[in-house]
């Protein structure tokens, strides 16, 4: 890109004269030695991605997870890093491994990537896999970027020094929803909890958020009617499901259904006309096709051109993980993880990620601070932190586990 002839044009007349005199010299001396800003050294950074494609749905599902969920986000992140890299002589490549029934082991996949020299691993995997991988690569200096596990324990008692959490914890998500309820003065919550461990963890997060923001859980019931949202048409259980919401005093029903089996069955079927939120209906999340502010429209368009479909939260989270590496490598001009990992928690590191505010990592648990959008399927409803929620550091720290409460101790 450096064109000495072009560069001469923009210099002062005095310099130009000197240059004319020195043109012969210039022809001999490499241009970069002469320029004020030394030409950057070429640098190639390989980023690994381990993910598990969702199995195809057994019957028609209008919004089934696409096979390349997450992977497509990584590809966009790599493309974005390379566009920037054109000017800094940095190149980025993606090495992805899809876990399948034949090749199910995330640790083996991680070791395979690390053996190739890869030192940045983006994981779109559940919490146990994140822990297993981070422990397995601990001694290699590899930086692990968690893009798929919202579990608070990964940011708490089971935190790891080599793991950075790109997606918000459940506590951050439910705090975002709780802030919205506070703004709306909907203080009474009816909590409906699904059967899985993830559902129970989400419900725990809701209870903690309710305490934190002085909301009241006035009723709580387990969901025992099966995956009705995935059942076809109507069923006799409908009446039963309605009865189960009868005689309760609440402003909003919060559903804890991370699998998406039944949460969408609840809105408009409660006995009393009440709004529904949580894992379905009004949802705190990282991304939605309806997000268009803060430049998000450009990212949506870029993604749709690249993947031929809409961008999903996991795509966004993997994209942000890949961009985190690109942003830090650009700033530090090295891809040495021993330089990059400590830099990520410095105040100088910020990630622009279409949230209107710079995102940064919390040093105490390596969680990416971020604004959280509260959306219904067709519209952005609100953005947390809500106005008026203040914090001495940044309002972003009103979401999730703050420094005084953290149980994370990096070893």
């Amino acid at each position: 890109m450096h064109n000495p002839a072009a560069e001469i044009r923009v210099r002062s007349p005095a310099q130009r004269q000197w240059l004319r005199a020195g043109l012969a010299v210039l022809a001999l001396v490499p241009f970069s030695a002469w320029a004020q800003q030394p030409a950057p050294q070429p640098l190639d950074t390989s980023i690994g991605l381990i993910y598990r494609p969702q199995p195809a749905p057994s019957s028609y599902d209008a919004e089934a997870a696409p096979e390349d969920e997450g992977l497509a986000g990584a590809k966009m992140g790599i493309a974005d890093n390379n566009t920037t890299g054109r000017f800094t002589k940095q190149t980025y490549t993606l090495d992805d491994i899809a876990l399948t029934d034949d090749k199910p082991d995330p640790v083996a996949a991680a070791k395979e990537l690390v053996a190739k020299g890869i030192r940045y691993l983006v994981l779109a995997l559940p919490a146990d896999a994140v822990l297993a991988v981070s422990d397995a690569v601990k001694d290699t200096g590899t930086v692990v970027l968690n893009a798929g596990a919202p579990d608070d324990r990964l940011r708490g008692a089971e935190c790891r020094a080599n793991v950075f959490h790109i997606l918000p914890s459940r506590a951050m998500l439910t705090d975002a929803l709780a802030q919205y309820l506070t703004v709306m003065r909907w203080r009474k919550i009816f909590l409906i909890v699904g059967p899985t461990e993830a559902d129970k963890a989400y419900a725990d997060a809701v209870r903690n958020s309710a305490r934190k923001f002085a909301l009241k859980i006035t009723a709580e019931k387990p969901w025992t009617f099966g995956p009705l949202a995935k059942a076809r048409g109507d069923t006799p259980t409908r009446a039963e499901a309605m009865v189960f919401t009868r005689g309760l005093d609440y402003d909003m029903a919060i559903v804890a259904d991370e699998e998406g089996d039944w949460g969408d069955y609840v809105p408009y079927r409660t006995v009393d006309p009440r709004p529904v939120g949580g894992t379905q209906a009004l949802t705190p999340t990282t991304w939605s096709p309806v997000l268009e502010t803060w430049g998000a429209a450009q990212a949506q368009n870029r993604f749709r051109r690249l993947a031929g479909r809409l961008m999903r939260p996991l795509d966004y989270q993997v994209w942000a993980a890949v961009r985190t590496v690109g942003e830090a490598v650009t700033a530090k001009k090295t891809n040495d993880p021993a330089v990059i990992a400590p830099y990520l928690v410095e105040p100088e590191f910020t990630l622009p990620a279409y949230k209107g505010v710079p995102l940064s990592f919390r040093p105490w648990d390596h969680q990416l601070r971020q604004a959280i959008i509260v959306v219904q399927p067709k519209a952005l409803v609100s953005v947390a932190p809500e106005q008026g929620f203040l914090h001495q550091r940044t309002p972003l720290d009103t979401l999730g586990v703050d420094l005084p409460e953290t149980t994370c101790k990096f070893k």
Binding site: M1, H2, N3, A5, A6, E7, R9, V10, R11, S12, Q15, Q36, Q37, D80, T83, T84, R86, F87, T88, G295, Q298, N301, R302, R305, E327, T330, A331, T350, L351, P352, G356, V357, P358, T394, P395, L396
Partner: protein, 327 residues
């Protein structure tokens, strides 16, 4: 000798005449309404909307031909630039801008037009008379801000996701250098002497002042407003007075325009304007500064001499850019 005196006298006379004629000559401000798909036309004297013109979808960047007779509007979602006749308010033709044009700047000679294609990581250079693409220059991700050196020799484009100011030679259409700035650079403005380039970083919350000869950031201006979160301070539009004394920076959702001593880089005051203020434009006499306030759907008018907001004018949905006629 005597001729010079006569000439001098007539300048004095002209000055007196201008002074007697009231506050300012009447200019016309054109404001693009991103969600209104329209342009609001404002009389700078009465500070009232005189017309609303229909344009293509998602109008953002806006500028005028040198003679003020043609108005250029980026119709981002229609992948074209609409050219309006300012006497009729009608779209008379469209330019082939490349995909998703967002901001542009007209060459000092009146042609060509340099366009940032936000979705396509390139700058397109268009001959506006022949409606012909002269060059496409690859730049960083989400190119947006466009600045032109006063001598017209260097074009600067900022790319929002690459976080760089790209210096482009306007003769060869080659990128000659790149300067890294803070996150999400939105706008580039040269000082009138061409020595410095100011670049705003919306997410970084700063304005970088770049020494143009050395292509090096020599100063980062930061902002602090009591009772406003640091995250809400998001610098976008920048305008610097011709005499190089003052700079005005729009601070987005902080709903303020910062007034900066452009020599010492000291922020002197924050003027409260409408909500989510992005772009700014001076009247040619530099007596007034217009701001586009996206969320409150209005335009604030700042009296430059007194540094006071004198008027708020309701316009269309989500006002984005503003250009003011030279006459």
């Amino acid at each position: 000798m005597s001729r010079r005196i006569v000439a001098g006298l007539s300048v004095v006379a002209l000055g007196t005449w201008v002074a007697l004629c009231g506050p300012a000559a009447a200019f016309t401000a054109y404001v693009t309404n991103e969600k209104g798909n329209s342009v609001s036309v404002i009389d700078s004297n009465t500070m009232a909307v005189t017309a609303t013109w229909k344009v293509g979808r998602r109008p953002r960047g806006v500028t005028l031909s040198k003679d003020g007779k043609e108005l250029f509007v980026c119709a981002s979602d229609d992948d074209r630039i609409d050219v309006l006749d300012t006497s009729s308010g009608k779209v008379v033709r469209s330019l082939r801008s490349g995909p998703d044009p967002e901001q542009f700047i007209l060459d000092a000679s009146g042609n060509p037009l340099y366009v940032a294609n936000e979705d396509d990581s390139q700058v397109t250079i268009i001959d506006i008379e022949k409606n012909k693409v002269l060059a496409e220059v690859p730049v960083g991700v989400e190119p947006e801000g466009m600045g032109l050196s006063p001598d017209g020799k260097v074009l600067v484009n900022t790319s929002e996701t690459t976080n760089m100011a790209h210096f482009i030679d306007t003769k060869t259409f080659q990128v000659i250098d790149n300067v890294l700035v803070d996150a999400r650079p939105r706008f580039a403005e040269f000082t009138a002497d061409g020595k410095f380039l100011w670049v705003s970083a919306e997410v970084g919350g700063t304005v970088s002042v770049i020494d143009v000869a050395q292509r090096r950031v020599i100063k980062k201006i930061t902002f602090k407003i009591p009772s406003v979160n640091d995250e809400a301070i998001q610098p976008v539009g920048i305008r610097i007075t011709k005499d190089g004394s003052k700079a005005f920076v729009a601070l987005g959702p902080a709903n303020r325009v910062a007034v900066i001593d452009a020599k010492t880089y000291t922020v002197e005051k924050y003027l409260p304007v409408g909500q989510r203020v992005w772009q700014l434009a001076f009247t040619p006499d530099q007596k007034q500064l217009f701001t586009t306030n996206g969320t409150s759907n209005d335009v604030s008018v700042i009296d430059v001499a007194s540094e006071k907001v004198v008027k708020s004018i309701p316009v269309g949905l989500l006002p984005w850019g503003v250009a003011i006629s030279p006459n």
